[in-house]
């Protein structure tokens, strides 16, 4: 049984100009101890899908799913109180902006302690001990002293380390990291990713990494989901994905990596992710796809078999290789 099992999850936001489908029937299944990356441009619904799992979406969002279970428990059936025990306890999440994700009015120690007292039975002194231990485990120097620091006294990298310490405080079985390195300096990015993978291996927890950076995917993930305009357009293991992408979007994302570029100019994907008002007919990627024909513009593409990366495409790429 997978740790997190989600089928046909859709999220719709009620906006002033009508409903907006941010996540369009996506499936996830994450096993214990597995590292899954969700890749896509801004606006492809990666974060929204995960926030839906956490139950952190605003009331304007409508979440529907055929199946939404953590460790066999249906998340939608749980009472608010029971769901809060899962969220923060068994599932933890860290966010893109570490500097604004910590409450400026409370000390680091207070904020870690709070997570511990919400989900564990530790005494006050044990919680303090555990907080120090956590800060040390995420590589913060002088952890005792840092407990009384306020968030504004920390750098971005330090804040993200504190966020990670807080998220792993109750030894979650699943950690969702929503673009954890996007707001950080390049040198710090690698450190934070290493830290996340180390902690993941050490505690045997599952890790879902949301990112738009294919480089990050290559370094960390085992399995990859490529998301575009709220849909999952490809699902593959990381080696297969980099070797033989099947969806033209995945292929275009890989071509845009500086390391893999061949010409003088870095190839870019023309246009932007369709928004609320300009969702095309047929395949959502067709306006930006170099291979699109009239079928793509009119007929919704089928889901290809696993051998073709479950690509959501009429004409998946690298078919010859698979056949051979």
């Amino acid at each position: 049984m997978p740790l997190l099992h989600i089928e046909n999850l859709s999220v719709t936001f009620q906006t002033a100009s009508g409903p907006f489908l941010a996540v369009d029937s996506v499936d996830f299944s994450v096993d214990a101890g597995e590292r899954l990356a969700i890749v896509g441009e801004s606006g492809s619904g990666k974060s929204v899908a995960m926030l839906a799992v956490m139950g952190l979406l605003p009331p304007t969002a409508t979440v529907t799913a055929d199946h939404m279970a953590f460790d066999g428990q249906d998340l939608r059936q749980l009472s608010r109180r029971a769901r809060r025990r899962v969220v923060g306890g068994d599932i933890a999440m860290i966010f893109q902006e570490p500097m604004s994700s910590l409450n400026p009015c409370f000390t680091v120690g207070f904020q870690i302690n709070e997570a511990l007292s919400a989900h564990t039975d530790l005494t006050r002194s044990q919680r303090r001990e555990r907080s120090v231990e956590l800060l040390r485990s995420v590589g913060i120097p002088e952890p005792e002293r840092r407990l009384s620091a306020f968030p504004h006294q920390l750098s971005g990298g330090m804040s993200q380390r504190v966020m990670i310490a807080m998220a792993t405080a109750c030894q979650p079985r699943l950690l969702i990291a929503d673009e954890p390195t996007t707001a950080l300096d390049v040198t710090i990015q690698a450190q934070i990713l290493d830290l996340l993978v180390d902690l993941q291996k050490e505690h045997g927890m599952a890790l879902i990494l949301i990112t738009h950076d294919m480089g990050v995917v290559a370094e960390t993930a085992q399995r990859v989901v490529v998301q575009y305009a709220g849909q999952q357009v490809e699902r593959q293991d990381v080696i297969g994905l980099f070797d033989a992408p099947h969806h033209p979007y995945t292929s275009a994302l890989l071509d845009a990596l500086p390391d893999r570029a061949t010409g003088d100019r870095l190839p870019a994907i023309r246009g932007v992710v369709p928004g609320q008002g300009d969702r095309p007919n047929g395949c959502l990627f067709n306006p930006r796809c170099p291979y699109a024909d009239d079928t793509c513009r009119t007929v919704v593409p089928p889901r290809q078999p696993a051998a073709l990366g479950e690509a959501l495409c009429h004409y998946p790429l690298n078919r010859a290789e698979q056949a051979a």
Binding site: M54, L56, R80, R84, R85, V86, V87, G88, G89, A92, M93, F95, E97, S100, S101, L102, N103, P104, C105, F106, E114, A115, A118, H119, F150, H152, Q153, M163, M166, A167
Partner: protein
Amino acid sequence: MLRFLFVRIGLLVPTFIGITIAAFGFVRLLPGDPVLLLAGEHGVSPERHAELMHQLGFDRPIWVQYFDFLWSVLQGDLGRSLVTHRPVLAEFSTLFPATLELSVCAIIIATVVGIPIGVIAAMKRGTWVDQSVMGAALVGYSMPIFWWGLLLIIFFSGVLHWTPVSGRISLLYYFPAHTGFMLIDSLLSGQKGAFVSAVSHLVLPAIVLATIPLAVIARQTRSAMLEVLGEDYVRTARAKGLSQARVVGLHALRNALIPVVTTIGLQVGVMMAGAILTETIFSWPGVGKWMVDSIFRRDYPAVQGGLLMIAVIIMFVNLIVDLLYGLINPRIRHTR
């Protein structure tokens, strides 16, 4: 923080000088003079008028009078009332506890009611709860104080006979003023019913005086909460699996209070202006009513002394609020 404190206190000096000029100037801009008003309907001969003006020192050049006033003020002397001949400072000190009691009760009502109302409105944003609460706040804010006070008197005192119309306590009770605060003195006196009488006298004027600050605090709390509820750290708090009460009441409210405290501080000035009207309507024997009476009598020393005292009090309240601000906002505490 220390540097911040010194700069902040240093700024009080020019403010104080400005206040003395304003207090001294305003009352002299009013038409008429104290001698004419003392003489009343009988009038006074020009010679006698000049003689009296000379006696009171009002015939000297205006800047000589001002520096004379400033010099006395610096020595802690606000002069004597032209009407009662008692020292202005003594009169002010006798009456001020009544105003303070009224204002403190009003600010407590405004804060204790206003903040929760603002939080509820923010939580129920866009619903009928939000709209009716904010509509009521707008009405409260727009209602002229004297009109609102009269409406309450007519209804609660006139129709329902629940509360007395005016004064601080029923004439049945007499006890020495230990603190000047009727609520405390009535309790200390141990007389049966005295405290209840004091409360029933206080409740209407306190509500009237609290109305505008309450509306302002509720609106400010609502908008601050709405802003804060969208912040990343509120999402983090929810992601930790904390209860709604803790997320809203601690994580969000603590941050939302920062601008609200500033607002409450600014309302103290509004209260003093409100106290003048409220005290007049309810015959509340405080400095507000005394100031109005003194203005009508062109009691120059009383008006300028009273204005100065009120301004200085507001100045210090704002200083305290600024210092409090550092306490509730760690970012200020550390960066200065």
